[in-house]
Symmetry: C2
Subunit: 157 residues, 2 copies
């Protein structure tokens, strides 16, 4: 990714990115998502009235977090001169569905706790990978979206 880094350093305007994603309700509770040339389906398990044909929204949110961490670990390993032979990351998120369903309005609707476990195979020391983890967490876009408020506005078309 150092080519990107050099390109952005030369022309900071290329660093300003706007991502657009559109979803359309289909089936009982599913959504078909279009993101550029890519499509994917989102559904719910049968316990939440879906057909379990695809991951659920909160699983995609965790998948976004995990994949962003994987990419940023590989990016900063390279820039710090560390080696990652294999990397596997697991995220667990705890959610209380009572807020979603309006049964108890006191809690929050989203995850109230998320734990990210990073498993790296490679020749460097635990201290070096711990230092890498701190650098990654300071630069990971989706971790920032989870950890800090994102100004979000909604409107009817």
């Amino acid at each position: 990714m150092s080519a990107c880094n050099e390109r952005i350093a030369r022309d900071v305007s290329t660093a300003a990115l706007t991502y657009t994603v559109t979803g359309r309700g289909v089936g009982s509770v599913a959504t078909e998502i279009q993101a550029g040339k890519h499509r994917f389906l989102v559904d719910e398990p049968s316990a939440l009235a879906g057909d379990d044909a695809a991951p659920s929204p909160v699983e995609y949110a965790l998948g976004a977090l995990v994949s962003c961490q994987v990419i940023v670990f590989r990016l900063y390993a390279q820039s710090l001169g560390l080696t990652i032979d294999e990397i596997e990351i697991t995220a667990e998120g705890d959610l209380d569905a009572r807020k979603l369903f309006g049964i108890d309005e006191s809690g929050r609707a989203g995850f109230h706790d998320v734990r990210v476990k990073v498993d790296i195979d490679g020749p460097n020391t635990v201290e070096e990978y711990e230092n890498l983890r701190r650098v990654v967490d300071a630069h990971c876009p989706v971790l920032d979206i989870f950890s800090n408020p994102v100004p979000t506005s909604g409107s009817l078309a």
Copy 2:
């Protein structure tokens, strides 16, 4: 989804959900995600050193937001007695990649602004759908993840 609602009201312990998602680095910058029985691929466009074989992490994050909004609109339309014939939601997110690449440490890594546009076809009034939108935004799990800090901890295995 009212069956879920009744089930959770009967037994609040079923409302405590833990979601687990695992990702493994593959290819140049891609990640293979496993979420329960479902799998999906995450990649980057060629401009960010990927093979553009799948959406990127931040596109999945927006897709999670859009699909969660679609589901919660349909859920609360039903519970408020409104009708949604068709629903399409678009989310745009602005991101400055200079933080990700460590070129400028002053900004944030994730989205600094997200706009959600909701397009509903149906027989109810704009005021009714605006009221629905406010109820949805108060109960949508992924909007909460975007809007409010999620306590997130990381550790090396």
